[in-house]
Protein backbone atom coordinates (compact mmCIF):
# COMPACT_ATOMS: atom_id res chain seq x y z
CA UNK A 1 0.00 0.00 0.00
CA UNK A 2 0.96 3.58 -0.47
CA UNK A 3 -0.29 6.59 1.43
CA UNK A 4 -2.71 8.73 -0.55
CA UNK A 5 -0.43 11.76 -0.40
CA UNK A 6 2.49 9.77 -1.81
CA UNK A 7 0.24 8.32 -4.50
CA UNK A 8 -0.71 11.88 -5.45
CA UNK A 9 2.92 12.92 -5.51
CA UNK A 10 3.95 10.05 -7.80
CA UNK A 11 1.05 10.22 -10.22
CA UNK A 12 0.69 13.96 -10.91
CA UNK A 13 3.08 15.19 -13.59
CA UNK A 14 1.70 18.56 -14.64
CA UNK A 15 3.79 21.76 -14.49
CA UNK A 16 4.86 22.66 -10.98
CA UNK A 17 4.22 19.25 -9.45
CA UNK A 18 7.19 17.43 -7.87
CA UNK A 19 6.91 14.45 -10.22
CA UNK A 20 6.27 16.75 -13.16
CA UNK A 21 9.46 18.60 -12.35
CA UNK A 22 11.26 15.27 -12.05
CA UNK A 23 10.15 14.22 -15.54
CA UNK A 24 11.29 17.61 -16.79
CA UNK A 25 14.88 16.73 -15.86
CA UNK A 26 15.04 14.05 -18.58
CA UNK A 27 14.94 13.74 -22.33
CA UNK A 28 11.72 11.83 -22.96
CA UNK A 29 10.21 10.33 -26.12
CA UNK A 30 7.71 12.78 -27.59
CA UNK A 31 6.77 11.25 -30.95
CA UNK A 32 7.87 8.65 -33.42
CA UNK A 33 9.95 10.10 -36.24
CA UNK A 34 7.40 8.64 -38.69
CA UNK A 35 4.84 11.16 -37.43
CA UNK A 36 6.79 14.00 -39.07
CA UNK A 37 8.00 12.17 -42.17
CA UNK A 38 8.83 15.10 -44.47
CA UNK A 39 9.81 18.72 -44.44
CA UNK A 40 6.70 20.94 -44.33
CA UNK A 41 4.47 17.94 -43.49
CA UNK A 42 1.30 18.53 -41.45
CA UNK A 43 1.88 19.47 -37.81
CA UNK A 44 0.97 16.98 -35.09
CA UNK A 45 -0.82 17.64 -31.82
CA UNK A 46 1.28 16.53 -28.86
CA UNK A 47 0.30 16.50 -25.21
CA UNK A 48 3.00 15.60 -22.71
CA UNK A 49 3.15 16.11 -18.96
CA UNK A 50 -0.23 17.88 -19.19
CA UNK A 51 1.02 20.51 -21.65
CA UNK A 52 -0.59 20.88 -25.09
CA UNK A 53 1.78 21.50 -27.96
CA UNK A 54 2.20 21.02 -31.68
CA UNK A 55 5.19 19.40 -33.32
CA UNK A 56 6.27 20.28 -36.82
CA UNK A 57 9.17 19.85 -39.22
CA UNK A 58 10.04 22.95 -41.16
CA UNK A 59 11.27 23.48 -44.71
CA UNK A 60 14.90 22.89 -43.65
CA UNK A 61 14.08 19.66 -41.76
CA UNK A 62 14.32 21.26 -38.31
CA UNK A 63 11.96 19.89 -35.69
CA UNK A 64 9.90 22.14 -33.44
CA UNK A 65 7.70 21.52 -30.43
CA UNK A 66 5.77 24.64 -29.48
CA UNK A 67 2.72 25.75 -27.51
CA UNK A 68 -0.35 24.53 -29.43
CA UNK A 69 -2.11 27.88 -29.37
CA UNK A 70 -1.40 31.02 -31.35
CA UNK A 71 -0.36 33.93 -29.17
CA UNK A 72 -2.82 36.20 -30.98
CA UNK A 73 -6.32 34.81 -30.32
CA UNK A 74 -5.59 31.34 -29.04
CA UNK A 75 -6.45 29.33 -32.15
CA UNK A 76 -4.89 25.89 -32.41
CA UNK A 77 -1.78 25.78 -34.54
CA UNK A 78 -2.68 22.23 -35.48
CA UNK A 79 -4.61 24.00 -38.23
CA UNK A 80 -1.43 25.86 -39.13
CA UNK A 81 0.13 26.02 -42.58
CA UNK A 82 3.60 24.54 -42.40
CA UNK A 83 5.43 26.47 -45.09
CA UNK A 84 8.42 28.67 -45.73
CA UNK A 85 10.39 27.68 -42.62
CA UNK A 86 7.59 28.24 -40.17
CA UNK A 87 4.12 27.37 -38.98
CA UNK A 88 1.50 29.97 -39.88
CA UNK A 89 -1.78 30.33 -38.01
CA UNK A 90 -4.46 30.27 -40.69
CA UNK A 91 -6.69 32.64 -38.74
CA UNK A 92 -4.72 35.91 -39.15
CA UNK A 93 -1.40 34.67 -40.57
CA UNK A 94 0.88 34.92 -37.55
CA UNK A 95 3.89 32.73 -38.20
CA UNK A 96 6.30 30.95 -35.85
CA UNK A 97 9.64 29.22 -36.31
CA UNK A 98 10.68 25.94 -34.65
CA UNK A 99 11.81 27.77 -31.51
CA UNK A 100 8.34 29.29 -31.08
CA UNK A 101 9.61 32.72 -32.06
CA UNK A 102 7.00 34.72 -33.94
CA UNK A 103 8.51 35.77 -37.26
CA UNK A 104 5.57 37.39 -39.00
CA UNK A 105 2.51 39.38 -37.95
CA UNK A 106 0.95 40.42 -41.28
CA UNK A 107 -1.28 43.09 -39.76
CA UNK A 108 1.77 45.01 -38.50
CA UNK A 109 3.85 47.38 -40.60
CA UNK A 110 6.55 45.78 -42.74
CA UNK A 111 9.34 47.22 -40.60
CA UNK A 112 7.57 46.57 -37.29
CA UNK A 113 9.55 44.85 -34.55
CA UNK A 114 6.35 43.76 -32.80
CA UNK A 115 6.78 40.06 -33.55
CA UNK A 116 10.19 39.99 -31.88
CA UNK A 117 8.39 40.23 -28.56
CA UNK A 118 6.06 37.33 -29.28
CA UNK A 119 7.49 33.97 -28.29
CA UNK A 120 5.56 30.76 -27.77
CA UNK A 121 6.81 28.33 -25.18
CA UNK A 122 8.88 25.75 -27.01
CA UNK A 123 11.00 22.75 -26.24
CA UNK A 124 13.85 21.16 -28.18
CA UNK A 125 12.86 18.23 -30.37
CA UNK A 126 15.67 15.98 -31.53
CA UNK A 127 15.65 12.82 -33.61
CA UNK A 128 17.64 9.91 -32.21
CA UNK A 129 16.86 6.60 -33.87
CA UNK A 130 13.19 6.29 -34.72
CA UNK A 131 12.16 8.58 -31.89
CA UNK A 132 11.83 12.35 -31.51
CA UNK A 133 12.96 13.27 -28.01
CA UNK A 134 12.20 16.38 -26.06
CA UNK A 135 13.45 18.00 -22.91
CA UNK A 136 10.81 20.08 -21.15
CA UNK A 137 12.92 21.44 -18.31
CA UNK A 138 15.06 24.46 -17.63
CA UNK A 139 17.38 25.11 -20.57
CA UNK A 140 20.19 25.89 -18.15
CA UNK A 141 20.22 22.29 -16.90
CA UNK A 142 19.54 20.53 -20.20
CA UNK A 143 21.42 17.21 -20.03
CA UNK A 144 23.30 15.54 -22.89
CA UNK A 145 21.22 13.52 -25.33
CA UNK A 146 20.02 10.01 -24.43
CA UNK A 147 22.32 7.04 -25.01
CA UNK A 148 19.89 4.13 -24.89
CA UNK A 149 21.23 1.33 -27.08
CA UNK A 150 17.91 0.74 -28.83
CA UNK A 151 18.02 4.14 -30.55
CA UNK A 152 21.73 4.03 -31.37
CA UNK A 153 22.04 0.71 -33.22
CA UNK A 154 21.76 0.92 -37.03
CA UNK A 155 18.19 1.41 -38.31
CA UNK A 156 17.94 -2.12 -39.69
CA UNK A 157 18.49 -3.51 -36.19
CA UNK A 158 15.69 -1.68 -34.41
CA UNK A 159 11.93 -1.08 -34.45
CA UNK A 160 9.85 1.21 -32.23
CA UNK A 161 6.09 1.54 -31.90
CA UNK A 162 3.86 3.48 -29.59
CA UNK A 163 0.37 3.14 -28.22
CA UNK A 164 -2.02 5.25 -26.23
CA UNK A 165 -2.72 3.81 -22.82
CA UNK A 166 -5.76 5.15 -20.98
CA UNK A 167 -4.43 5.27 -17.45
CA UNK A 168 -1.88 7.03 -15.33
CA UNK A 169 1.74 6.46 -16.30
CA UNK A 170 2.73 4.87 -12.98
CA UNK A 171 0.39 1.89 -13.12
CA UNK A 172 1.48 1.23 -16.70
CA UNK A 173 5.16 1.54 -15.83
CA UNK A 174 4.85 -0.71 -12.77
CA UNK A 175 3.95 -3.59 -15.07
CA UNK A 176 7.42 -3.28 -16.57
CA UNK A 177 9.18 -4.22 -13.34
CA UNK A 178 6.67 -6.81 -12.25
CA UNK A 179 8.22 -10.05 -13.49
CA UNK A 180 5.89 -12.35 -11.60
CA UNK A 181 2.89 -11.69 -13.83
CA UNK A 182 4.55 -13.08 -16.94
CA UNK A 183 4.06 -16.73 -16.02
CA UNK A 184 0.33 -16.17 -15.75
CA UNK A 185 -0.90 -13.34 -17.93
CA UNK A 186 1.51 -13.92 -20.80
CA UNK A 187 1.78 -17.70 -20.61
CA UNK A 188 0.02 -18.14 -23.94
CA UNK A 189 2.49 -15.81 -25.64
CA UNK A 190 5.51 -17.75 -24.46
CA UNK A 191 4.25 -20.70 -26.48
CA UNK A 192 2.92 -18.97 -29.57
CA UNK A 193 4.25 -15.44 -30.04
CA UNK A 194 6.76 -15.41 -32.91
CA UNK A 195 8.96 -12.98 -30.99
CA UNK A 196 9.08 -15.13 -27.84
CA UNK A 197 8.57 -18.78 -28.69
CA UNK A 198 11.20 -21.46 -28.93
CA UNK A 199 13.65 -20.16 -26.35
CA UNK A 200 15.05 -22.57 -23.80
CA UNK A 201 14.38 -19.97 -21.12
CA UNK A 202 10.63 -20.25 -21.75
CA UNK A 203 10.74 -23.81 -20.40
CA UNK A 204 12.19 -22.58 -17.12
CA UNK A 205 9.52 -19.90 -16.99
CA UNK A 206 6.72 -22.39 -17.41
CA UNK A 207 8.13 -25.07 -15.13
CA UNK A 208 8.73 -22.78 -12.19
CA UNK A 209 5.79 -20.47 -11.64
CA UNK A 210 7.00 -19.11 -8.30
CA UNK A 211 10.09 -17.07 -9.01
CA UNK A 212 12.31 -15.63 -6.30
CA UNK A 213 13.35 -12.00 -6.64
CA UNK A 214 16.38 -9.93 -5.86
CA UNK A 215 16.20 -6.17 -6.19
CA UNK A 216 19.31 -4.03 -6.19
CA UNK A 217 20.14 -0.38 -6.82
CA UNK A 218 21.90 0.62 -9.99
CA UNK A 219 23.38 4.01 -10.79
CA UNK A 220 20.39 4.98 -12.89
CA UNK A 221 17.67 3.04 -11.12
CA UNK A 222 17.35 -0.64 -10.33
CA UNK A 223 18.12 -4.15 -11.39
CA UNK A 224 15.35 -6.64 -10.68
CA UNK A 225 16.49 -10.27 -10.86
CA UNK A 226 13.84 -13.00 -11.11
CA UNK A 227 15.20 -16.43 -10.30
CA UNK A 228 13.72 -19.77 -11.24
CA UNK A 229 14.99 -23.31 -10.88
CA UNK A 230 16.91 -24.63 -13.85
CA UNK A 231 18.94 -27.83 -14.13
CA UNK A 232 20.45 -29.36 -10.99
CA UNK A 233 22.56 -26.88 -9.08
CA UNK A 234 21.64 -23.93 -11.28
CA UNK A 235 19.16 -21.08 -11.42
CA UNK A 236 17.65 -19.35 -14.44
CA UNK A 237 17.88 -15.60 -13.89
CA UNK A 238 15.94 -12.94 -15.76
CA UNK A 239 17.37 -9.49 -15.10
CA UNK A 240 15.27 -6.40 -15.76
CA UNK A 241 16.96 -3.01 -15.68
CA UNK A 242 14.98 0.06 -14.70
CA UNK A 243 16.36 3.47 -15.59
CA UNK A 244 14.59 6.41 -14.02
CA UNK A 245 12.09 7.78 -14.57
CA UNK A 246 10.22 5.27 -16.77
CA UNK A 247 12.46 3.04 -18.90
CA UNK A 248 12.58 -0.73 -18.55
CA UNK A 249 13.88 -3.61 -20.63
CA UNK A 250 12.46 -7.10 -20.79
CA UNK A 251 14.99 -9.91 -20.39
CA UNK A 252 15.68 -11.55 -23.76
CA UNK A 253 14.61 -14.97 -24.97
CA UNK A 254 16.99 -16.98 -27.13
CA UNK A 255 18.22 -15.00 -30.11
CA UNK A 256 14.98 -13.06 -30.40
CA UNK A 257 15.38 -9.28 -30.44
CA UNK A 258 15.44 -7.57 -27.05
CA UNK A 259 12.48 -5.45 -26.11
CA UNK A 260 11.47 -2.82 -23.65
CA UNK A 261 9.40 0.25 -22.96
CA UNK A 262 9.50 3.93 -22.12
CA UNK A 263 6.33 5.27 -20.53
CA UNK A 264 5.58 8.95 -20.93
CA UNK A 265 2.71 10.77 -19.21
CA UNK A 266 0.31 12.50 -21.58
CA UNK A 267 -1.68 13.87 -18.67
CA UNK A 268 -2.51 12.35 -15.31
CA UNK A 269 -5.00 9.89 -16.78
CA UNK A 270 -3.29 8.88 -20.02
CA UNK A 271 0.19 7.91 -21.12
CA UNK A 272 2.16 6.85 -24.16
CA UNK A 273 3.81 3.47 -24.13
CA UNK A 274 6.81 3.54 -26.46
CA UNK A 275 7.77 -0.08 -27.15
CA UNK A 276 10.90 -1.20 -28.91
CA UNK A 277 12.68 -4.27 -30.18
CA UNK A 278 16.29 -4.32 -31.28
CA UNK A 279 19.11 -6.72 -31.76
CA UNK A 280 22.54 -5.54 -30.65
CA UNK A 281 24.50 -7.29 -33.40
CA UNK A 282 22.31 -8.19 -36.35
CA UNK A 283 19.56 -6.74 -38.52
CA UNK A 284 16.00 -7.69 -37.68
CA UNK A 285 14.76 -10.28 -40.15
CA UNK A 286 11.85 -9.41 -42.42
CA UNK A 287 9.75 -11.91 -40.48
CA UNK A 288 10.63 -10.32 -37.16
CA UNK A 289 9.94 -6.80 -38.38
CA UNK A 290 6.61 -7.84 -39.88
CA UNK A 291 5.66 -9.55 -36.62
CA UNK A 292 6.33 -6.28 -34.78
CA UNK A 293 4.31 -4.30 -37.31
CA UNK A 294 1.51 -6.85 -36.90
CA UNK A 295 1.43 -6.19 -33.16
CA UNK A 296 3.21 -9.26 -31.83
CA UNK A 297 5.61 -9.28 -28.93
CA UNK A 298 5.39 -6.07 -26.91
CA UNK A 299 3.78 -4.15 -29.78
CA UNK A 300 0.11 -3.58 -30.55
CA UNK A 301 -2.05 -3.53 -33.66
CA UNK A 302 -3.26 0.03 -33.81
CA UNK A 303 -6.24 1.55 -35.58
CA UNK A 304 -4.79 2.70 -38.91
CA UNK A 305 -3.76 6.33 -38.84
CA UNK A 306 -3.75 6.41 -35.05
CA UNK A 307 -1.75 5.10 -32.13
CA UNK A 308 -4.82 3.70 -30.42
CA UNK A 309 -4.80 -0.09 -30.18
CA UNK A 310 -7.49 -1.88 -32.17
CA UNK A 311 -8.33 -3.81 -29.02
CA UNK A 312 -9.21 -1.13 -26.52
CA UNK A 313 -11.57 -0.39 -23.67
CA UNK A 314 -14.34 0.68 -26.07
CA UNK A 315 -14.62 -2.84 -27.46
CA UNK A 316 -13.79 -4.70 -24.25
CA UNK A 317 -10.34 -5.40 -25.68
CA UNK A 318 -11.95 -7.91 -28.07
CA UNK A 319 -11.90 -10.39 -25.23
CA UNK A 320 -12.34 -13.95 -26.47
CA UNK A 321 -13.48 -16.29 -23.71
CA UNK A 322 -13.33 -19.27 -26.04
CA UNK A 323 -9.65 -18.65 -26.79
CA UNK A 324 -9.16 -18.45 -23.04
CA UNK A 325 -10.87 -21.82 -22.57
CA UNK A 326 -8.76 -23.34 -25.31
CA UNK A 327 -5.63 -22.16 -23.50
CA UNK A 328 -4.51 -19.84 -26.28
CA UNK A 329 -4.59 -16.83 -23.97
CA UNK A 330 -4.65 -16.69 -20.22
CA UNK A 331 -7.00 -13.71 -19.85
CA UNK A 332 -8.89 -13.95 -23.11
CA UNK A 333 -7.19 -10.82 -24.43
CA UNK A 334 -4.78 -11.35 -27.30
CA UNK A 335 -1.27 -9.93 -27.40
CA UNK A 336 1.22 -9.14 -24.67
CA UNK A 337 0.71 -5.39 -24.91
CA UNK A 338 -3.04 -5.43 -24.59
CA UNK A 339 -3.00 -8.14 -21.96
CA UNK A 340 -1.05 -5.68 -19.83
CA UNK A 341 -2.98 -2.58 -20.86
CA UNK A 342 -6.42 -4.14 -20.34
CA UNK A 343 -5.68 -4.93 -16.72
CA UNK A 344 -3.80 -1.70 -16.00
CA UNK A 345 -6.62 0.37 -17.47
CA UNK A 346 -9.20 -1.67 -15.56
CA UNK A 347 -7.74 -0.26 -12.33
CA UNK A 348 -9.23 3.12 -13.25
CA UNK A 349 -7.55 6.31 -14.46
CA UNK A 350 -5.38 6.61 -11.33
CA UNK A 351 -5.41 3.57 -9.10
CA UNK A 352 -5.85 4.18 -5.39
CA UNK A 353 -2.74 2.52 -3.99
CA UNK A 354 -3.89 3.00 -0.42
CA UNK A 355 -6.17 0.00 -1.07
CA UNK A 356 -3.46 -2.36 -2.25
CA UNK A 357 -2.30 -5.51 -0.52
CA UNK A 358 1.22 -5.98 -1.73
CA UNK A 359 3.33 -9.06 -1.10
CA UNK A 360 7.11 -9.46 -0.85
CA UNK A 361 7.24 -10.41 -4.54
CA UNK A 362 6.23 -6.81 -5.28
CA UNK A 363 9.49 -5.48 -3.84
CA UNK A 364 10.66 -4.16 -7.21
CA UNK A 365 7.59 -1.97 -7.39
CA UNK A 366 7.95 -0.88 -3.76
CA UNK A 367 11.59 0.04 -4.33
CA UNK A 368 10.93 1.88 -7.60
CA UNK A 369 8.24 4.00 -5.94
CA UNK A 370 10.64 4.78 -3.12
CA UNK A 371 13.34 5.87 -5.57
CA UNK A 372 10.93 8.07 -7.50
CA UNK A 373 9.58 9.69 -4.34
CA UNK A 374 13.02 10.33 -2.91
CA UNK A 375 14.31 11.74 -6.19
CA UNK A 376 11.31 14.05 -6.61
CA UNK A 377 11.65 15.40 -3.08
CA UNK A 378 15.45 15.77 -3.32
CA UNK A 379 14.98 17.70 -6.55
CA UNK A 380 12.25 19.89 -5.08
CA UNK A 381 13.95 20.61 -1.76
CA UNK A 382 17.65 20.57 -2.63
CA UNK A 383 17.89 20.73 -6.41
CA UNK A 384 19.55 17.31 -6.60
CA UNK A 385 19.85 15.93 -10.14
CA UNK A 386 18.05 12.56 -10.16
CA UNK A 387 19.47 9.20 -11.26
CA UNK A 388 18.98 8.42 -14.93
CA UNK A 389 19.72 11.91 -16.22
CA UNK A 390 23.36 11.05 -16.90
CA UNK A 391 23.50 9.31 -20.31
CA UNK A 392 25.99 6.80 -18.91
CA UNK A 393 23.07 5.43 -16.88
CA UNK A 394 21.26 4.59 -20.12
CA UNK A 395 23.90 2.08 -21.23
CA UNK A 396 22.25 -0.96 -19.68
CA UNK A 397 20.88 -4.20 -21.02
CA UNK A 398 18.51 -6.83 -19.78
CA UNK A 399 19.88 -10.35 -19.53
CA UNK A 400 18.72 -13.95 -19.15
CA UNK A 401 21.33 -16.39 -17.86
CA UNK A 402 21.72 -19.73 -16.12
CA UNK A 403 24.08 -19.52 -13.14
CA UNK A 404 25.35 -21.89 -10.47
CA UNK A 405 23.11 -21.55 -7.42
CA UNK A 406 25.83 -20.04 -5.26
CA UNK A 407 26.52 -17.17 -7.64
CA UNK A 408 25.12 -13.68 -7.28
CA UNK A 409 23.43 -12.39 -10.40
CA UNK A 410 24.91 -8.97 -9.77
CA UNK A 411 28.47 -10.27 -9.58
CA UNK A 412 28.14 -12.74 -12.44
CA UNK A 413 26.31 -10.44 -14.84
CA UNK A 414 28.21 -7.18 -14.48
CA UNK A 415 29.25 -7.31 -18.13
CA UNK A 416 25.99 -8.80 -19.36
CA UNK A 417 23.93 -5.86 -18.09
CA UNK A 418 26.24 -3.26 -19.67
CA UNK A 419 26.07 -2.17 -23.29
CA UNK A 420 29.09 -3.49 -25.16
CA UNK A 421 28.90 -2.61 -28.86
CA UNK A 422 29.35 -5.62 -31.11
CA UNK A 423 28.61 -8.10 -28.32
CA UNK A 424 25.25 -9.90 -28.39
CA UNK A 425 22.83 -9.90 -25.49
CA UNK A 426 23.22 -12.52 -22.76
CA UNK A 427 20.25 -14.78 -23.37
CA UNK A 428 18.93 -18.29 -22.92
Amino acid sequence: MLRKDINELLTRTGPGTPMGELFRQYWIPALLAEELPDNDCPPVRVKLLSERMVAFRDSEGRYGLVDEFCAHRGASLWFGRNEGSGLRCPYHGWKYDVTGQCIEVPSEADNSSFCQNVQLTSYPLVRIGDVLWTYMGDRATQPPLPEFEWVHVPPEQTYTSKRWQQCNWLQAFEGGIDSSHVTFLHSGGLKTDPLFRGAKGNEYNMKDTKPFFEVADSEGGLFVGARRNAEDGTYYWRITPYVMPAFTMVPPRGDHPVHGHFWVPIDDENCWTFSFDYHPVRPLTDTERQAMIDGHGVHSRNIPGTYRPMANMDNDYLIDREAQKRGETYSGVAGIAMQDASLQESMGPIVDRSKERLVPADSGIIKARQKLRKAAIALRDEGVTPPGVNPEHHKVRSAAVVLPQAESFLDSCRDAVKVTPGVPQASV
Binding site: A216, G348, Q370, Q405
Partner: protein
Protein backbone atom coordinates in the same frame (compact mmCIF):
# COMPACT_ATOMS: atom_id res chain seq x y z
CA UNK B 1 -32.67 5.14 -41.00
CA UNK B 2 -31.19 4.23 -37.66
CA UNK B 3 -29.71 6.76 -35.34
CA UNK B 4 -26.23 5.83 -34.14
CA UNK B 5 -26.06 5.58 -30.40
CA UNK B 6 -23.06 6.43 -28.30
CA UNK B 7 -22.81 3.45 -26.02
CA UNK B 8 -19.76 2.89 -23.90
CA UNK B 9 -18.51 -0.64 -23.61
CA UNK B 10 -18.61 -2.34 -20.26
CA UNK B 11 -14.85 -1.89 -19.86
CA UNK B 12 -14.85 1.79 -20.81
CA UNK B 13 -17.65 2.57 -18.39
CA UNK B 14 -16.14 0.51 -15.58
CA UNK B 15 -12.72 2.14 -15.92
CA UNK B 16 -14.03 5.70 -15.77
CA UNK B 17 -13.25 8.00 -12.88
CA UNK B 18 -16.95 8.41 -12.14
CA UNK B 19 -17.40 4.66 -11.66
CA UNK B 20 -14.53 4.62 -9.16
CA UNK B 21 -16.94 6.18 -6.67
CA UNK B 22 -18.85 2.93 -6.49
CA UNK B 23 -15.97 0.74 -5.48
CA UNK B 24 -16.67 -1.02 -2.19
CA UNK B 25 -14.81 0.86 0.46
CA UNK B 26 -14.33 -1.79 3.13
CA UNK B 27 -11.65 -1.27 5.75
CA UNK B 28 -8.51 -3.26 5.03
CA UNK B 29 -7.25 -5.36 7.89
CA UNK B 30 -3.51 -5.72 8.36
CA UNK B 31 -2.53 -8.47 6.00
CA UNK B 32 0.47 -9.87 7.75
CA UNK B 33 1.53 -11.02 11.14
CA UNK B 34 5.17 -10.29 10.54
CA UNK B 35 8.34 -11.12 12.39
CA UNK B 36 11.31 -8.89 11.71
CA UNK B 37 14.64 -10.43 12.64
CA UNK B 38 17.89 -8.47 12.66
CA UNK B 39 20.88 -10.72 12.11
CA UNK B 40 23.71 -8.49 13.32
CA UNK B 41 24.39 -5.46 15.50
CA UNK B 42 23.96 -2.79 12.86
CA UNK B 43 20.80 -4.48 11.66
CA UNK B 44 19.57 -4.57 15.26
CA UNK B 45 19.91 -0.80 15.43
CA UNK B 46 17.81 -0.57 12.27
CA UNK B 47 15.24 -2.92 13.80
CA UNK B 48 15.02 -0.74 16.92
CA UNK B 49 14.38 2.34 14.80
CA UNK B 50 11.77 0.47 12.80
CA UNK B 51 10.10 -0.86 15.92
CA UNK B 52 9.56 2.70 17.12
CA UNK B 53 6.98 3.17 14.37
CA UNK B 54 3.41 2.07 14.91
CA UNK B 55 2.75 -1.34 13.35
CA UNK B 56 -0.29 -3.55 13.46
CA UNK B 57 1.13 -6.95 14.39
CA UNK B 58 4.83 -6.83 13.52
CA UNK B 59 7.23 -8.06 16.19
CA UNK B 60 10.94 -7.40 16.20
CA UNK B 61 13.87 -9.62 17.24
CA UNK B 62 17.61 -9.79 17.04
CA UNK B 63 19.66 -12.85 16.22
CA UNK B 64 22.77 -13.67 18.25
CA UNK B 65 24.72 -15.32 15.51
CA UNK B 66 23.83 -18.97 16.04
CA UNK B 67 20.13 -19.20 15.49
CA UNK B 68 19.02 -17.99 18.91
CA UNK B 69 16.81 -14.92 18.99
CA UNK B 70 16.20 -12.16 21.48
CA UNK B 71 13.43 -9.67 21.88
CA UNK B 72 14.58 -6.08 21.50
CA UNK B 73 14.59 -5.74 25.29
CA UNK B 74 17.11 -8.59 25.50
CA UNK B 75 14.80 -11.40 26.60
CA UNK B 76 15.61 -14.73 25.00
CA UNK B 77 13.15 -16.07 22.43
CA UNK B 78 12.96 -19.48 20.85
CA UNK B 79 13.07 -19.36 17.08
CA UNK B 80 10.48 -22.09 16.84
CA UNK B 81 8.05 -20.12 18.98
CA UNK B 82 8.79 -16.82 17.30
CA UNK B 83 7.83 -18.30 13.98
CA UNK B 84 4.59 -19.77 15.23
CA UNK B 85 1.54 -17.92 13.97
CA UNK B 86 3.35 -15.76 11.44
CA UNK B 87 3.01 -15.72 7.68
CA UNK B 88 5.96 -13.52 6.76
CA UNK B 89 9.45 -13.04 8.13
CA UNK B 90 11.57 -10.09 7.14
CA UNK B 91 15.24 -10.63 7.84
CA UNK B 92 17.56 -7.64 8.15
CA UNK B 93 21.31 -8.01 7.61
CA UNK B 94 24.24 -5.66 7.14
CA UNK B 95 27.15 -8.09 7.26
CA UNK B 96 28.06 -11.75 7.04
CA UNK B 97 27.78 -12.61 10.73
CA UNK B 98 24.20 -13.82 10.61
CA UNK B 99 24.73 -16.67 8.20
CA UNK B 100 23.78 -19.43 10.65
CA UNK B 101 20.67 -17.64 11.85
CA UNK B 102 19.67 -16.82 8.29
CA UNK B 103 19.93 -20.44 7.30
CA UNK B 104 18.00 -21.65 10.36
CA UNK B 105 15.21 -19.14 9.80
CA UNK B 106 15.10 -19.96 6.13
CA UNK B 107 14.85 -23.70 6.74
CA UNK B 108 12.02 -23.43 9.24
CA UNK B 109 10.15 -20.90 7.13
CA UNK B 110 10.56 -23.13 4.09
CA UNK B 111 9.10 -26.09 5.95
CA UNK B 112 6.16 -24.12 7.33
CA UNK B 113 5.31 -22.20 4.20
CA UNK B 114 6.20 -18.85 5.73
CA UNK B 115 7.20 -16.27 3.15
CA UNK B 116 10.66 -14.95 3.83
CA UNK B 117 11.98 -11.61 2.65
CA UNK B 118 15.52 -10.40 3.21
CA UNK B 119 16.63 -6.79 3.35
CA UNK B 120 20.39 -6.56 3.07
CA UNK B 121 21.59 -3.08 3.89
CA UNK B 122 24.95 -1.73 2.86
CA UNK B 123 27.10 -0.35 0.10
CA UNK B 124 29.07 -2.86 -1.90
CA UNK B 125 27.22 -5.81 -0.37
CA UNK B 126 29.40 -6.52 2.65
CA UNK B 127 26.84 -9.18 3.55
CA UNK B 128 27.54 -11.53 0.66
CA UNK B 129 27.52 -14.60 2.89
CA UNK B 130 24.23 -13.60 4.47
CA UNK B 131 22.79 -13.04 1.01
CA UNK B 132 24.02 -16.46 -0.08
CA UNK B 133 22.55 -18.06 3.03
CA UNK B 134 19.20 -16.36 2.53
CA UNK B 135 19.02 -16.89 -1.21
CA UNK B 136 17.61 -20.41 -1.19
CA UNK B 137 14.79 -19.41 1.15
CA UNK B 138 13.99 -15.74 0.75
CA UNK B 139 11.22 -15.15 -1.74
CA UNK B 140 12.65 -11.68 -2.11
CA UNK B 141 16.03 -10.18 -1.37
CA UNK B 142 16.23 -6.42 -1.34
CA UNK B 143 19.84 -5.26 -1.57
CA UNK B 144 19.96 -1.64 -0.61
CA UNK B 145 22.04 1.16 0.78
CA UNK B 146 18.95 2.85 2.10
CA UNK B 147 17.54 1.90 5.47
CA UNK B 148 14.25 3.50 4.52
CA UNK B 149 13.65 0.60 2.12
CA UNK B 150 13.01 -1.68 5.08
CA UNK B 151 10.41 0.75 6.39
CA UNK B 152 8.81 1.05 2.97
CA UNK B 153 8.65 -2.72 2.58
CA UNK B 154 6.96 -3.21 5.95
CA UNK B 155 4.56 -0.36 5.25
CA UNK B 156 3.65 -1.76 1.85
CA UNK B 157 3.04 -5.19 3.38
CA UNK B 158 0.67 -3.70 5.97
CA UNK B 159 2.31 -5.44 8.90
Amino acid sequence: MTTPTLQLSESARAASASESRYRIDAPIRPARSARVVALDEKAAAVARRLAAHPWAHARFYTGDGDARLRELDGAAALLDEVLTGTDVVVVLATEDGGRAAAAAIGRICGRRGITTAGVVLGDGFEADDAVAALRPYARVLLLSADEADAFELLTALRV
